[in-house]
């Protein structure tokens, strides 16, 4: 006991095609792990399996979250239990104001945990404080969710949601892709602010750059649907020099 997340021999397929082929990974409370790997190695599939997206079929293995069967829960239950995914491609929802969305989400999670919902005033106070801390313009709040947002704004909006929802396990799926250095720092600050001994973070990335700002405890290389190598933060730097070619070959 005591693990935040235990992934045991996880196999998953999409449209009948095997993508994850036996992943073993254990994350303890308070730890930050990074998963790196070439395109097509299964990084996003892992993120979606952990959050319960339709069409991602687990064919073998087990995932325990705080000792409980994560895969048996619906996406909304997982979220209510504290699992959060920062999407690689945040979805646009026309007609739904960002603030309304955040309030619905927060209060749905509070309800799930048996807490009273925040009223409008309490929520506005929380959100004002949070956007100030993150340096996000309040103009983003009024617009429909992600509609007309730039790539950087979408990623900041994911971090805003994370900061409001305060997950116990945050999975960041290539949150750094397409970001300039300022946006990257905002994202990193948001993640680092969440680092406590009770929370765990799984950072999925293609590049080492983000890991300069979010320093991981462990780094894993995902190749061909398996963890090909694990190490400390120095492994990320090594990958930056050597690239992924060696792993693609080794796993093939």
């Amino acid at each position: 006991m005591g693990y935040m997340l235990e992934i045991k021999n996880l196999h998953a397929s999409v449209d009948g095609k095997a993508i994850l082929k036996g992943i073993d990974l254990t994350i303890g409370p308070g730890e930050v792990h990074a998963i790196m790997g070439p395109n097509g190695s299964g990084k996003s599939t892992l993120a979606y399996v952990l959050t319960g997206r339709e069409g991602y079929e687990v064919t073998e293995g087990q995932v325990l979250y705080q000792g409980r069967d994560l895969l048996a829960m619906s996406p909304e239950e997982r979220a209510g239990e504290g699992v959060f995914l920062a999407f690689q491609y945040p979805v646009e929802i026309p007609g739904v104001p960002n603030t309304t969305f955040l309030k619905e989400a927060l209060n749905a999670q509070r309800k799930h945990r048996g807490e009273t919902p925040l009223d409008a005033m309490e929520f506005i106070k929380l959100i004002r404080r949070t956007i100030k801390d993150l340096g996000i313009s309040d103009e983003l709040l009024k617009r429909p969710v992600n509609v007309g947002f730039s790539g950087g704004e979408k990623k900041r909006n994911e971090i805003l949601q994370m900061a409001i929802l305060k997950p116990t396990l945050a999975v960041l799926d290539e949150t750094d892709s397409g970001l300039d250095i300022d946006a990257l720092k905002t994202v990193a600050d948001g993640v680092n602010a969440l680092r406590t001994p009770e929370r765990s973070i799984l950072v999925i990335t293609h590049y080492q750059r983000l890991l300069d700002y979010i320093v991981p405890d462990r780094v894993h290389v995902l190749a061909q649907g398996r963890i090909a190598r694990s190490g400390g933060k120095e492994l990320a730097l090594e990958l930056e020099r050597t690239g992924y070619a060696a792993f693609a070959d080794a796993a093939a």
Binding site: F87, I93, P94, V96, F101, A108, Q109, H112, P144
Partner: protein, 443 residues
């Protein structure tokens, strides 16, 4: 050949009633009625063989004997109102097609506004009614409007004199009170806005009782030069009702017709509107939203004719169709020769919530002028799965996530409504439908 039995039944009803219908002593009106019943008898009930009725079959009319509704009163204290002021506006109530009450706010009623029932107006000033009744539009092929013309008894009579602006909305409640027998009534409305005048009319159709009734209304609207009519309709008829509304709107130069229709009621409904933009600069907004489920059938058929230069129209209809319900959208925009520099925009979007739900959508543009801007689009889809997952991944339960997406889909049609005071009631009506739909889905 259309089945003649129901047609025969209506013709017999007319023959039995013709002597006691309002205006029986007015030769012009008797002629109008006689021409109506003759046209109805020769056209018969609309059948799928008629192009305009290809997707809507009036089965309840073929199989049910609807008797003429007699005078009926209901307790109006409990009738809902859609307006935020709650009863301090002008309010006209019809029960089974007959005027029951006309409340106009004395202090607010400006000079130059005639508001009341058509039957009263025919008694008081038949010439003024005869100037317009049966003269707006070209209803030659419309059998049910012809039936309405023959059988009409009463309906809204609104006339706003030149330059007069009616500040408060006029709420018109049409109550369908079902009886032990299926009933038919044929309300006839006449709205005349003289040049430079302005009014807002909110039609609210509701049903009382569980039985079947046939509300077959006809509406004629004339909007004079520079006049402005905002016309909102909420159709929430009883579950077994057949609601057919045939409407003709005539606009003169620089006039505005701004209409929105929200449809949730009736077993079978047809909302058929023909708009003629006859003067330069005339403008029309014809928008609506519909939400149907069960075995409901909802037909929206519109024709907008641009007959003068620099006329414009904007038409957006959005619908949500659940269970085995079926919707029809037929939208025709005609830009006549000479209607240069006109522009038209039409959009029909439907959301199918079940794999047994159906929509037939038929946009038609006919353009005979070369210097015009015209666009149309039609989409049919399911709820966006990516958006649904995104909401659920943030902890919002599936039913609530679906409700959020359905409401968001319809909300932007409400934003087209110019009378802001009405928007909360319309949104509430949508919210109510959506939450009961998602409850049904969950159970």
């Amino acid at each position: 050949m259309p089945d003649s039995a129901p047609v025969q039944s209506f013709v017999e009803q007319f023959d039995a009633l013709r002597g006691e219908l309002p205006g029986a002593a007015l030769p012009w009106l008797c002629d109008l009625r006689a021409a109506g019943i003759e046209r109805f008898a020769s056209l018969g009930l609309p059948a799928p063989g008629v192009e305009a009725w290809k997707y809507t079959r009036l089965r309840p009319l073929e199989t049910t004997d609807f008797l003429p509704a007699t005078a009926h009163t209901v307790n109006i204290d409990h009738l809902p109102t859609l307006l935020p002021q709650g009863g301090i506006d002008h309010r006209v109530i019809f029960v089974n097609g007959r005027l029951m009450q006309c409340l106009a706010m004395p202090g607010e009623r400006p000079e130059g506004v005639e508001l009341g029932g058509l039957a009263d107006a025919l008694r008081r000033d038949p010439e003024a009614v005869g100037e317009h009744l049966g003269r707006i539009g070209a209803p030659d092929g419309q059998a049910l409007l012809a039936l309405n013309t023959a059988m009409m008894r009463d309906g809204l009579m609104l006339r706003v004199k030149r330059g007069v602006s009616v500040a408060l909305p006029i709420e018109v409640v049409y109550v369908g009170a079902a009886g032990p027998q299926p009933l038919a009534f044929h309300p006839r409305n006449l709205i005349v806005l003289e040049p430079g005048s302005r009014a807002t009319v909110v039609e609210h159709h509701i049903g009382l009782g569980a039985g079947a009734y046939f509300a077959n209304s006809g509406t004629e609207i004339r909007i004079g030069e520079g006049a402005e009519l905002h016309h909102y309709k909420i159709q929430d008829e009883g579950a077994e009702a057949v609601h057919v509304a045939t409407q003709h709107v005539h606009l003169e130069a620089n006039a505005l017709y701004d209409a929105f229709t929200l449809t949730t009621g009736a077993r079978l409904s047809r909302h058929e509107v023909s708009v003629r933009l006859t003067g330069p600069g005339a403008e029309c907004h014809l928008n609506g939203a519909y939400m149907v489920r069960g075995k409901q059938h909802c037909d929206t058929t519109t024709t907008i004719e641009h007959m003068a230069p620099r006329t414009s129209c904007r038409e957006i209809f959005k619908g949500v169709i659940d269970e085995q319900a079926r919707a029809v959208f037929q939208g025709r925009i005609v830009i006549h020769r000479g209607a240069q520099q006109s522009n038209g925009h039409q959009l029909s979007k439907a959301l199918l919530l079940s794999n047994r739900a159906e929509i037939d959508t038929k946009p038609e543009l006919e353009i005979y002028a070369d210097d015009v801007k015209c666009s149309h689009g039609a989409t049919v889809g399911d709820l966006d799965r990516d958006a649904l997952f995104y909401l659920r991944a943030r902890g919002i339960p599936e039913a609530a996530a679906r409700a959020i997406l359905i409401e968001a889909f319809l909300a932007d049609t409400i934003n087209e409504v110019a009378a802001e005071g009405l928007c909360p009631a319309l949104m509430a009506s949508i919210g109510h439908w959506v939450s009961s739909a998602t409850r049904r889905a969950a159970s």
